[in-house]
Protein backbone atom coordinates (compact mmCIF):
# COMPACT_ATOMS: atom_id res chain seq x y z
CA UNK A 1 0.00 0.00 0.00
CA UNK A 2 1.24 3.46 -0.88
CA UNK A 3 2.59 5.38 2.08
CA UNK A 4 0.88 8.69 2.83
CA UNK A 5 3.08 11.70 3.39
CA UNK A 6 2.20 14.15 6.15
CA UNK A 7 4.35 16.80 4.60
CA UNK A 8 4.31 20.49 3.89
CA UNK A 9 4.91 21.78 0.34
CA UNK A 10 8.37 22.98 1.38
CA UNK A 11 9.23 19.37 2.25
CA UNK A 12 8.18 18.12 -1.18
CA UNK A 13 11.24 18.40 -3.37
CA UNK A 14 10.89 18.51 -7.15
CA UNK A 15 13.78 17.53 -9.41
CA UNK A 16 13.16 18.14 -13.12
CA UNK A 17 15.77 16.91 -15.59
CA UNK A 18 15.64 20.33 -17.35
CA UNK A 19 17.23 18.66 -20.37
CA UNK A 20 18.05 20.02 -23.81
CA UNK A 21 14.83 19.15 -25.64
CA UNK A 22 11.19 20.15 -25.60
CA UNK A 23 10.36 17.44 -23.05
CA UNK A 24 13.31 18.44 -20.83
CA UNK A 25 12.07 22.02 -20.82
CA UNK A 26 8.50 20.86 -20.24
CA UNK A 27 9.79 18.99 -17.19
CA UNK A 28 11.51 22.18 -16.05
CA UNK A 29 8.36 24.23 -16.66
CA UNK A 30 6.24 21.75 -14.73
CA UNK A 31 8.64 22.00 -11.79
CA UNK A 32 8.38 25.79 -11.86
CA UNK A 33 4.59 25.67 -12.11
CA UNK A 34 4.24 23.23 -9.21
CA UNK A 35 6.50 25.43 -7.10
CA UNK A 36 4.59 28.60 -7.99
CA UNK A 37 1.32 26.90 -7.11
CA UNK A 38 2.84 25.82 -3.76
CA UNK A 39 2.56 22.10 -4.46
CA UNK A 40 6.24 21.59 -3.75
CA UNK A 41 9.67 23.14 -3.99
CA UNK A 42 11.89 23.19 -7.07
CA UNK A 43 15.26 21.66 -6.26
CA UNK A 44 18.54 21.60 -8.09
CA UNK A 45 19.28 18.30 -9.82
CA UNK A 46 22.67 19.58 -11.00
CA UNK A 47 23.61 20.12 -7.35
CA UNK A 48 22.94 16.46 -6.68
CA UNK A 49 24.98 15.41 -9.71
CA UNK A 50 27.76 17.72 -8.54
CA UNK A 51 27.70 16.21 -5.03
CA UNK A 52 27.31 19.69 -3.49
CA UNK A 53 27.13 18.93 0.26
CA UNK A 54 24.55 21.64 0.97
CA UNK A 55 22.25 20.28 -1.73
CA UNK A 56 22.73 16.68 -0.62
CA UNK A 57 22.01 17.50 3.02
CA UNK A 58 19.01 19.66 2.08
CA UNK A 59 17.63 16.78 0.02
CA UNK A 60 18.03 14.37 2.95
CA UNK A 61 15.66 16.64 4.89
CA UNK A 62 12.93 16.28 2.24
CA UNK A 63 9.91 14.11 3.01
CA UNK A 64 8.73 13.50 -0.56
CA UNK A 65 11.03 13.41 -3.57
CA UNK A 66 9.62 13.89 -7.05
CA UNK A 67 11.60 13.36 -10.23
CA UNK A 68 10.43 14.64 -13.61
CA UNK A 69 12.23 13.24 -16.62
CA UNK A 70 11.58 14.37 -20.15
CA UNK A 71 12.33 11.07 -21.81
CA UNK A 72 13.35 7.45 -21.16
CA UNK A 73 17.02 8.39 -20.81
CA UNK A 74 15.84 9.14 -17.25
CA UNK A 75 18.67 11.46 -16.19
CA UNK A 76 16.82 12.83 -13.15
CA UNK A 77 15.92 9.38 -11.88
CA UNK A 78 19.44 8.03 -12.43
CA UNK A 79 21.08 11.06 -10.79
CA UNK A 80 18.95 10.70 -7.66
CA UNK A 81 19.40 6.90 -7.64
CA UNK A 82 23.14 7.32 -7.94
CA UNK A 83 23.18 9.67 -4.94
CA UNK A 84 21.24 7.10 -2.91
CA UNK A 85 17.87 8.87 -2.77
CA UNK A 86 14.52 7.11 -3.02
CA UNK A 87 12.05 8.73 -5.41
CA UNK A 88 8.47 8.84 -4.17
CA UNK A 89 6.75 10.03 -7.34
CA UNK A 90 8.06 9.87 -10.87
CA UNK A 91 6.96 10.77 -14.35
CA UNK A 92 8.44 10.75 -17.83
CA UNK A 93 6.97 13.46 -20.02
CA UNK A 94 6.98 11.19 -23.08
CA UNK A 95 4.78 8.72 -21.17
CA UNK A 96 2.06 11.38 -21.20
CA UNK A 97 1.88 11.28 -24.99
CA UNK A 98 4.21 14.19 -25.68
CA UNK A 99 6.75 13.50 -28.41
CA UNK A 100 10.38 14.50 -27.94
CA UNK A 101 11.94 17.05 -30.30
CA UNK A 102 14.69 19.67 -30.23
CA UNK A 103 12.46 22.71 -29.70
CA UNK A 104 13.46 24.44 -26.46
CA UNK A 105 10.31 26.57 -26.27
CA UNK A 106 7.84 24.21 -24.62
CA UNK A 107 4.17 24.31 -25.47
CA UNK A 108 2.47 25.87 -22.39
CA UNK A 109 -0.40 23.38 -22.57
CA UNK A 110 2.10 20.51 -22.34
CA UNK A 111 3.63 22.10 -19.21
CA UNK A 112 0.17 22.34 -17.65
CA UNK A 113 -0.56 18.72 -18.57
CA UNK A 114 2.55 17.44 -16.77
CA UNK A 115 2.10 19.76 -13.78
CA UNK A 116 -1.55 18.71 -13.39
CA UNK A 117 -0.60 15.03 -13.58
CA UNK A 118 1.98 15.46 -10.82
CA UNK A 119 -0.29 17.67 -8.74
CA UNK A 120 -2.83 14.85 -8.60
CA UNK A 121 -0.13 12.34 -7.59
CA UNK A 122 1.10 14.68 -4.85
CA UNK A 123 -2.41 15.33 -3.55
CA UNK A 124 -3.21 11.62 -3.48
CA UNK A 125 -0.05 10.86 -1.53
CA UNK A 126 -0.77 13.68 0.90
CA UNK A 127 -4.31 12.37 1.32
CA UNK A 128 -5.94 15.65 0.28
Amino acid sequence: MEEKCLCEPTEILIFPCSGGSNVGQIANGAGVKLTQSRMGKFFCLAGIGGHIPGMIESTKAGKMLIAIDGCPVACAKKTLDHAGFNIDEYVQVTDLGIEKNSNLDPNPSDVVKVADHLASLISRRRGI
Binding site: T10, K41, F43, C44, G47, I52, P53, G54, M55, I56, E57, S58, K60, A61, G62
Partner: protein
Protein backbone atom coordinates in the same frame (compact mmCIF):
# COMPACT_ATOMS: atom_id res chain seq x y z
CA UNK B 1 37.61 24.74 14.34
CA UNK B 2 34.72 26.92 13.23
CA UNK B 3 31.01 26.10 13.28
CA UNK B 4 28.53 28.18 11.33
CA UNK B 5 24.79 27.97 11.89
CA UNK B 6 22.95 28.94 8.73
CA UNK B 7 19.45 30.30 9.10
CA UNK B 8 17.48 33.49 9.14
CA UNK B 9 16.39 33.59 12.76
CA UNK B 10 13.72 30.89 12.79
CA UNK B 11 12.98 28.95 15.99
CA UNK B 12 14.80 25.87 14.70
CA UNK B 13 17.79 28.02 13.74
CA UNK B 14 18.04 29.27 17.31
CA UNK B 15 17.59 25.75 18.65
CA UNK B 16 20.42 24.48 16.46
CA UNK B 17 22.65 27.35 17.60
CA UNK B 18 21.96 26.48 21.25
CA UNK B 19 22.61 22.78 20.57
CA UNK B 20 25.91 23.65 18.91
CA UNK B 21 26.98 25.80 21.86
CA UNK B 22 26.08 22.98 24.24
CA UNK B 23 28.00 20.43 22.17
CA UNK B 24 31.08 22.64 22.13
CA UNK B 25 30.87 23.09 25.89
CA UNK B 26 30.61 19.33 26.46
CA UNK B 27 33.48 18.59 24.08
CA UNK B 28 35.81 20.93 25.96
CA UNK B 29 37.35 21.99 22.65
CA UNK B 30 38.02 25.46 21.45
CA UNK B 31 35.47 26.03 18.73
CA UNK B 32 34.12 29.26 17.32
CA UNK B 33 30.34 29.17 16.79
CA UNK B 34 28.73 31.87 14.66
CA UNK B 35 25.31 32.53 13.18
CA UNK B 36 25.06 33.23 9.46
CA UNK B 37 21.85 35.02 8.56
CA UNK B 38 22.82 36.51 5.20
CA UNK B 39 20.84 34.73 2.50
CA UNK B 40 23.61 35.14 -0.09
CA UNK B 41 26.13 33.49 2.23
CA UNK B 42 23.66 30.72 3.02
CA UNK B 43 23.01 30.11 -0.68
CA UNK B 44 26.75 30.04 -1.36
CA UNK B 45 26.88 26.74 0.53
CA UNK B 46 24.20 25.29 -1.76
CA UNK B 47 21.89 24.96 1.22
CA UNK B 48 18.22 25.08 0.21
CA UNK B 49 16.70 24.09 3.57
CA UNK B 50 17.54 25.77 6.86
CA UNK B 51 18.69 25.54 9.51
CA UNK B 52 22.03 24.09 8.52
CA UNK B 53 25.27 23.44 10.32
CA UNK B 54 28.67 23.89 8.70
CA UNK B 55 31.96 22.79 10.22
CA UNK B 56 35.11 24.30 8.72
CA UNK B 57 33.29 24.98 5.47
CA UNK B 58 31.66 21.55 5.14
CA UNK B 59 27.87 21.27 5.37
CA UNK B 60 27.12 18.53 7.91
CA UNK B 61 23.34 18.83 8.04
CA UNK B 62 20.56 20.94 6.51
CA UNK B 63 16.84 21.23 7.09
CA UNK B 64 16.82 19.67 10.53
CA UNK B 65 18.09 20.11 14.06
CA UNK B 66 20.58 17.44 15.11
CA UNK B 67 20.87 16.53 18.77
CA UNK B 68 23.70 17.80 20.96
CA UNK B 69 25.38 14.36 21.03
CA UNK B 70 25.41 14.16 17.24
CA UNK B 71 27.04 17.58 16.94
CA UNK B 72 29.54 16.64 19.65
CA UNK B 73 30.45 13.59 17.57
CA UNK B 74 31.26 15.80 14.58
CA UNK B 75 33.41 18.07 16.73
CA UNK B 76 35.40 15.15 18.12
Amino acid sequence: MKIEILGMGCANCNKLYQNALEAVKLSGKEVQVTKVEDIQKIMSYGVMSTPALVIDGVVKVAGKVPKVEEIKGWIE
